[in-house]
Amino acid sequence: MADVEVQKPEAGPTGGAAYPKERRGFGSSVLVVVLSLVAALAVPVLTYVLLNGTFNAMSGRVSAVLVGVVAIIIGVVGVFAMYTLVDLGIKRLPDNIGRTVQPYAWAGPAVVVLGIYLVYPAINTVQLSFADATGEGFVGWDNYRYVFSDPAMLRSLRNTLFWIFVVPAAAVSIGLGFAVLADKLRRTESIAKSMIFLPMAISFVGAGIVWRFVYSFRVEGSGEQIGILNAIKVGLGGAPVDWLAVVPWNNLLLMVIMIWLQTGFAMVILSGAIKGVPEDMLEAARLDGATEIQIFWRIIVPTIMSSIVVVFTTMIIGVLKVFDIVWVMTGGQDGTEVIAERMIRNMFTFRNFGRGAAVAVFMFLAVIPVMYINVRRFREEEATR
């Protein structure tokens, strides 16, 4: 950024007052670049030093609860205080330099943190995927060979593919159907929707316990069935089943949990979209004698298609990353492995960083199309802004 022209100072979409253009010498340009970098790094570094210092000073001396309270206060106030401090520093700079540096002091810290927590790791994960278990020695394509040849890995790829086919489709269908039906209720609509939406607030681990109880099983003769599914089956004259060990249907039972959790999400978004369908369009169709079912398929669904697509993509990404449910329910036993669960298993249980990284890279590649679509959509929106 040599020979920067001084930016228009505060230009919103309408632009600020135009300041006369100044040209800066090479020396002051370098100074501005350096100051911008320092400004961007200042908040993350200062915050880290402050928090780390506080933790070190307190560790072992005061009770854990007090550490927690102090930590919360510092965590909450600290970041803001650092920005204030840096901004005060910038005000002491000469006006024209301060104006150029300030945006970097505000936007920079977030970019630095993103660099540390997402960009650097993404690059490093790609490197590690060619390394051995400790992440040190180079092993070439071995880890990728493992991903595409290990029986458990292959099962996980197959299962994840099924999850991707089943869960979004089921959740969107149920959610859409429910949204359309609930839309026809007058007073009870919002309560009805809350009930379906409620599982969204529950952790995957909690949901796992909820459903393990639903599926719970006792060997025949060792007492009454306390899991509702087996109780129903026995009540209908069947024998109790250890549901989670029934290959391959146990996968479907795990998917049910995800559907249970995610239908509310689809329902809420699609419900909002349905309410956006113009009323006169529906009226016109009704006057022409269209049935409610025809209206649903010919008018509502096509009109809200873009929302359906968004819900679908969001869910596919969510399903790709599903791990907690499998971890809690079956631990990936009995042929229920999924790809994200394999990634954590390799990294955490087997301590094989190379293989874990290779699985992560595979997951990363799988979301790149969505990333591309998002960026393209954003650019289109900006162009029309």
Binding site: G75, Y120, P121, A201, R212, R286, A360, M363, V367
Partner: protein
């Protein structure tokens, strides 16, 4: 897939869509409304059964749980001998769920506030300041929205364990010349030990939550009327004053939406806590404690159900009291990975 009601996570739009329009014109026939009611009712019951079963079971004595299904209580609701709170007492004290609850709050509160603060400053800069690279940097944030956090786990774990160590051996010539010794390998690094600390988890949650926070807040702040900023500037306010006195108060709906979304996300998170905080009793959070209980005593349903309910109670309260904001955050975050 451009355009459309939700593709633009626009908070105002979803807000506008919220007021219920009531019954659709065509369905005035009372019989079909009845049919709709019945179908909706059945789906709701199916959806609630698992949670209701869990709640009822957590309030029954261990003996009662193991001899009869929870649905049998509806036949003997007033038989007080089956009801108890000891499950909660046991899981809270000897189960360690009391400290796990505190730990979860210690993790969740800063992990919510820190990314919001950072994102608010960044979002303001992206909306109302001109600088080189503004467009590029924001596209970069949009691209990061869907990156699965699994990609970040191993490198961050290693970073936390030993700190970043850069191989700067290209400086060995200089180092050798200065020191007079033969220097073959020069590394520089900051020693870190953040694994198993709250600080490490906060920073991780901050990093993973930032893309969505920036994206959301920038969309909101960017849509504030520019005349407002202009007049404040004419009155002599600088960016900091405009930000703290004008933009932040106006952005409360967006801030609240993201805050609730992020708080529930962190509160319910298992993966990040498992990897960076671990399972030792002094730092473990509720989801970790619940998973441990599930592993050790998978058939102790009186403890598991009580523990699971403890882990759900705060999210459910937040959810019911602030549902409107939560829905908005969720709608706006529909593209998050």
């Amino acid at each position: 897939m451009s355009g459309g009601p939700v593709t633009v996570p626009d908070i105002e739009k979803t807000k506008a869509a919220q007021p219920t329009r009531g019954s659709e014109g065509g369905v005035s026939d009372p019989r079909s409304v009845q049919v709709v009611r019945v179908i909706v009712g059945i789906i709701i019951i199916l959806w609630l059964i698992p949670t209701v079963g869990l709640l009822i079971t957590s309030l029954r004595t261990q003996g009662a749980i193991e001899t009869s299904g929870w649905w049998t209580v509806f036949g003997s609701l007033f038989d007080t001998s089956q009801w108890t709170l000891t499950n909660y007492q046991e899981v809270l004290t000897s189960g360690g769920f009391d400290s796990a609850f505190v730990n979860t709050l210690i993790v969740a509160v800063p992990s919510t506030v820190m990314p919001i603060t950072m994102a608010a400053f960044a979002a303001y800069a992206f909306s109302w300041m001109e600088f080189k690279g503004r467009y590029f940097l924001f596209v970069f944030v949009v691209a990061l929205l869907v990156v699965p956090l699994q990609v970040a786990l191993i490198p961050i774990l290693r970073l936390y364990a030993g700190g970043p160590e850069l191989n700067i051996s290209f400086l060995s010539g200089i180092a050798g010349a200065i020191s007079g010794y033969d220097v073959e390998r020069v590394t520089a690094g900051i020693p870190l030990s953040l694994n198993g600390t709250f600080l490490g988890v906060w920073l991780a949650h901050m990093g993973f939550g930032l893309p969505l926070a920036i994206y959301l807040l920038r969309n909101f702040m960017g849509s504030l009327p520019s005349e407002l900023m202009e007049s404040a500037r004419i009155d002599g306010a600088d960016h900091f004053a405009i930000f703290t006195r004008l933009v932040i108060p106006l952005s409360v709906p967006a801030l609240a939406s993201f805050a609730i979304f992020q708080f529930l996300w962190v509160f319910n998170d298992f993966l990040v806590a498992l990897v960076f905080l671990g399972e030792t009793a002094d730092v473990r959070v509720l989801t970790i404690a619940l998973n441990a209980l599930n592993g050790q005593r998978g058939e102790a349903w009186h403890l598991l159900t009580a523990g699971a309910f403890i882990s759900m109670v705060l999210p459910l309260v937040v959810f019911f009291s602030l549902q409107r904001y939560f829905v908005r955050g969720l709608t706006a975050g529909a593209v998050k990975g």
